[in-house]
Amino acid sequence: MSAPETLVDRATPATAPVAEIRRLTIGFGRAAPVVRGVSLSVGAGECVALVGRSGSGKSVTARSLLGLTGRGARVEAEVLRIAGQDVRRFGERRWRGVRGSGVGLVAQDALESLDPLRRVGREVAEGLAARGEPVPRDEREALVHAALRRAGIPDPEVRARQYPHELSGGLRQRALIAAALAGEPALLVADEPTTALDVVVQRQILALLADIRDGGVGLLLVSHDLAVVSTLADRVLVMADGEIVESGAPETVLTDPEHPATCALVSDSVGRRPQGRTLPQAPPVLEVRDVSRSFGTRRAVDGVSLALAPGESVGIVGESGSGKSTLARIALGLLEPDSGSVLLEGEQWAGYPERERRPRRSRIQLIAQNPLGAFDPRLRVGAIVAEGLRGGSDVEALLKQVGLAPELAGRRPHELSGGQRQRVAIARALATEPDVLVCDEPVSALDVSVQAQVLDLLTRLRDERGLALLMITHDLGVVAGICDRVVIMRDGRVVEHGPTVEVFEAPQHEYTRLLLEARPSVGRGRSRRR
């Protein structure tokens, strides 16, 4: 496969690359290799991004630069160099010499990637030890503080003595980056460094990574999110099925993709444009009137009203703590409001005794964020879906409707992928033939490309069955593709609402503007200090 090789040579020829890979192949056991003939190089002060769907082999490729591909991995390459050293035949001991000092790793979710039982400063100091020459104790503290400061953490003296759970998400990620850089590696591998973060914090971490790159460190960024990548990368390499299928500058690859895998990635990431639909007038199928609910002293929901017409989809958007999930539970009749009323198809819903309400439960169903928790761990898919059946359709038909092979009925949920599980949850909800579907963050735990598939499914079902959708989410991109109207919530109150198209193009409230702006988008342009 000669095509990928020529693309490698676009690295800055003047300086030797900090990482160079040629024809890398990685396999586990007797199975087919998960990485096939991959070649890339990263220069100092350059950011190369590896993008692809999950399973494309991008993480494994990145980890091979640390010698951490996992037990039982066969790694073969024509060239595998880090900071000039040939690491192909390295045993564990020699790898330890390279890790930390030649190459560093920043993983996602710093809460899990930092030892919760150790102080942050000690974690960073550990990175210092990788430098080779032992650092005298009195100097160590000063160096740790300096490393934390460089990562943009204020009051490093205070922070170093704290534990990871005492820091906010953004500070934790910075600490993790500081620990990875403490050994002064020439190459930094960042594997999904911003996935677990809030949109606003994400932007700041990306800025920090840009600074690091501009400081001369070579950065290999692995991500499934093209928008994140386009703000940071000098070159983008697209991987699919273990191979590099396309590469180039982000502006070209992402705005004018050639390979079908790249096209799929781009269309998933760009997000949809909100479209206006006209719906026939009809009395609302779900009505929430001036509902409030408190937990102790905290007002979770404060005087919220909304109405859902049959076949309409309304998105409720807000950050965590905005009260949107509480509102969803009230709408479902799982939680009683302190004041206000909820009407389902014109009849009283909230506050109604459960025994009399039960027959009507089939009208409104729930798709939760984490389907695995919502499935009885002892049951197989078939039994799970059949639980809602009242006669009429059967399990096979339902599975087919959500795009799953009928054979999956015999499997257990934990054997399925996240996207498949969500489809099973949808099939179960459809079994009762509801009129309203409440979706509480249905896709936020899924990969970007899988998100698109599930949302497509929901859209199709909505159109085919005239389902009304109440979509709870923190992601405006999700709203854009599927919701006719959007309601923005903050601290329990509605701050803005209206047709999606209008709200997106002309937001009235400042908070809405903040949310809209914080979204990273493809093609916005990279930050680079000249």
Binding site: G100, G104, D115, P116, L117, L171, A179, V200
Partner: protein, 325 residues
């Protein structure tokens, strides 16, 4: 930023202390009333069925042991006795329980402590040595742990006796003279506890090894031994601490059997004797003492948790975490 003990923390300690005292009180109460209600005729148990029917003797005996007083009075006496160290009088032997136990507790304590230390060292050693080792090492260790848990300590003691005392003659077969007589009983007693501890530690070590922070640590150049010492071993301390009170209880119970097998003097012998003679005074006293030991260990363990796992500390952080950096 110093290590301030906030009033909240002090409050928590006080609460736990009160809970521990409550449990101890419950133990004394439950034991007392269980004996009083289910123990049958106490006087008949002391005298034997024939002697109990002798007129006059019954009343005399009852008065002597304080059994003729109302139940509530006896109960309060028992409670009060805990503070003064008065644990009642043995029905079987007629001597104060406290002096009876005091004379015998030495060898038992010796045995329990050495078994505890040995068991802990064995468990930690086995886990650390096989951490990060190959599949063979870990499989062998798991097998050893399984055996340790499944083999009853009394039979193990018998087997050890047979092999090392009677056949090889390396160690004495009975008595409590010197270190040599301590070796085999310690081995037998420590076995099940060490097995469970090792199992729990290994499991926890495996879990911690797979967590993302272990990967990040390895990415900084840490080797497997360093990883265990600096990171994952600490994670095993939490479940081990949880088990410490249970472990103590098992050691105390097991000591009874091991002392019988090795013909060692100690509380075990006294206890078994007391049980077969229905001497509920001695038995309930021993049981309450064991409960005391358990409660104290549990309390210490609960106080130790926040020290091990910083997430459990109720300390208010000095700098409020900012949400937007």
């Amino acid at each position: 930023m110093g290590r301030r003990v906030t009033s909240r923390a002090r409050h928590a300690v006080l609460r736990r202390l009160l809970a521990a005292v409550a449990v101890l009180w419950g133990a004394v109460t439950v034991t007392f009333f269980a004996v009083a209600l289910a123990g049958g005729d106490q006087v008949a148990a002391i005298l034997g069925p024939e002697a109990a029917s002798v007129p006059g003797l019954r009343e005399e005996t009852a008065a002597r042991f304080g059994l003729d007083r109302p139940l509530l009075a006896q109960y309060l006496d028992r409670l009060g006795g805990l503070f003064t160290g008065d644990l009642g009088v043995s029905y079987q032997r007629g001597v104060p329980v406290s002096s009876l136990l005091a004379g015998q507790i030495g060898p038992t304590l010796q045995l329990a402590v050495s078994a505890a230390v040995f068991g802990a060292v064995l468990a930690v050693g086995l886990t650390v040595l096989t951490a990060g080792g190959g599949r063979v090492a870990r499989g062998a260790a798991s097998l050893l742990e399984l055996l340790a848990v499944a083999v009853p300590p009394f039979w193990f003691g018998i087997a050890l006796l047979w092999i090392f005392s009677f056949t090889l003659g390396w160690f004495p077969a009975f008595g409590a003279a010197g270190i040599a007589s301590l070796v085999l009983p310690t081995l037998a007693l420590a076995l099940p506890v060490a097995g469970v501890l090792a199992q729990v530690m290994r499991q926890e070590l495996d879990v911690a090894d797979r967590r993302p922070f272990a990967l990040s640590a390895r990415a900084r150049g840490l080797g497997p031994k360093e990883l265990v010492w600096r990171h994952t071993l600490r994670h095993t301390l939490v479940p081990v601490t949880t088990l410490s009170a249970w472990g103590l209880g098992t050691l105390i119970g097991g000591a009874v059997l091991v002392e019988k097998v090795f013909s060692r003097p100690g509380v075990g012998r006294v206890l078994v004797d007391a049980v077969s003679h229905r001497d509920t005074a001695v038995v309930s006293a021993v049981v309450v003492l064991a409960a005391l030991a358990f409660v104290v260990t549990n309390l210490l363990a609960e106080l130790l948790y926040p020290v091990i796992d910083a997430r459990l500390r109720s300390r208010v952080p000095d700098a409020a975490p900012e949400t937007a950096r």
